[in-house]
Subunit: 188 residues, 2 copies
């Protein structure tokens, strides 16, 4: 980031989200986002490849967090417990971001292209999580299933969290959804 | 389907799969697919919107099968058992299609755009399955979680099935993966 553009990335993300909320995703141009953020289009493209990526820019660090957490869990931990710890770490990042996340979700849900991008992000998390489990010596299909189940739980919990006006805490909803998955899979 | 083009749809699907396997997805044109099938481009576009859809043309009927099966299961059945029955019905359709499915999977895996389309198809199945469960009176998040878990199981089982040279039967792998999911979620 250049010295004369403090927090350009964050400003562009906020400007984009505001404009997408006000006018819709399709109706907003990169020039307008840059202008709203008090920056140039050139600066925009230094940070984001296109109009979509500004909504998904934070997911690379989350991906790394997921991986680093898995690597840090003690060897003997059961696969599903590893996944739980990793998702807890990701959920913690969303603390204090309920209003922002709800606004972002409204933009995503309104646009098929963005919904697809969100799905692909989740699938990438699942694949990475399964890889990380395999690297810990978890065999397949247990590694794939633990990862898929974990991401399914996160997805359901996240959608509940952003769907509710009151912020009940993403971490709590992830734990609740995990318990619910256990109950569901044993056929209760 | 016109009378003078018997099984045009099936012939186009087979021609496309053969050409995508031989030359790659990007290197094949609709004109070439139509020619290989002994049909015209116009006929192609009467059946499929684009080059991708010819690989996913069978998924609409599968979606309906999934829904109809769910509707036919007795009222008192537990959500996860409903999902199991529905996936059994879908798996049955793949009987005798192991070689074909392996060929299709090789084409899909080689192309990011096709991988995304496959993900989106699975997500649509999951959403439809959750909806069908809700219509049976299953509350959320149980409906979403049972559907997500079921589709995750199917996905893992399908990838194992097409990943193995020997055809062990998709239905059997789906059941094995379900058992494995139960073991994984309780932390065994």
């Amino acid at each position: 980031m250049s010295r004369w553009e403090p927090n350009a990335r964050g400003r562009l993300e906020q400007a984009a989200l505001d404009l997408y909320s006000e006018r819709g995703f399709e109706q907003t141009t990169v020039a307008e986002i840059a202008k709203r953020a008090g920056l140039t289009e050139r600066t925009y493209f230094r940070h984001f490849a296109d109009k979509r990526e500004v909504l998904f820019g934070g997911t690379g660090p989350l991906h790394d967090l997921l991986m680093n957490t898995v690597a840090a869990v003690p060897e003997s931990t059961a696969p599903i417990a590893v996944v739980t710890v990793a998702l807890d770490a990701v959920a913690a990042v969303f603390q204090g971001r309920h209003a922002h996340s709800r606004k972002r979700q409204a933009v995503i849900v309104a646009n098929p292209e963005l919904r697809e991008r969100e799905l692909i992000k989740m699938a990438a998390w699942s694949a990475a999580l399964a890889d990380a489990l395999r690297r810990r010596g978890v065999a397949d299909p247990a590694a794939s299933l633990a990862a898929e189940a974990g991401i399914a739980v996160f997805k359901v919990a996240y959608e509940r969290w952003v769907g509710e006006a009151e912020d009940r805490g993403l971490a709590r909803l992830v734990r609740e959804s995990f318990d619910e998955l256990k109950a569901v899979t044993v056929g209760e």
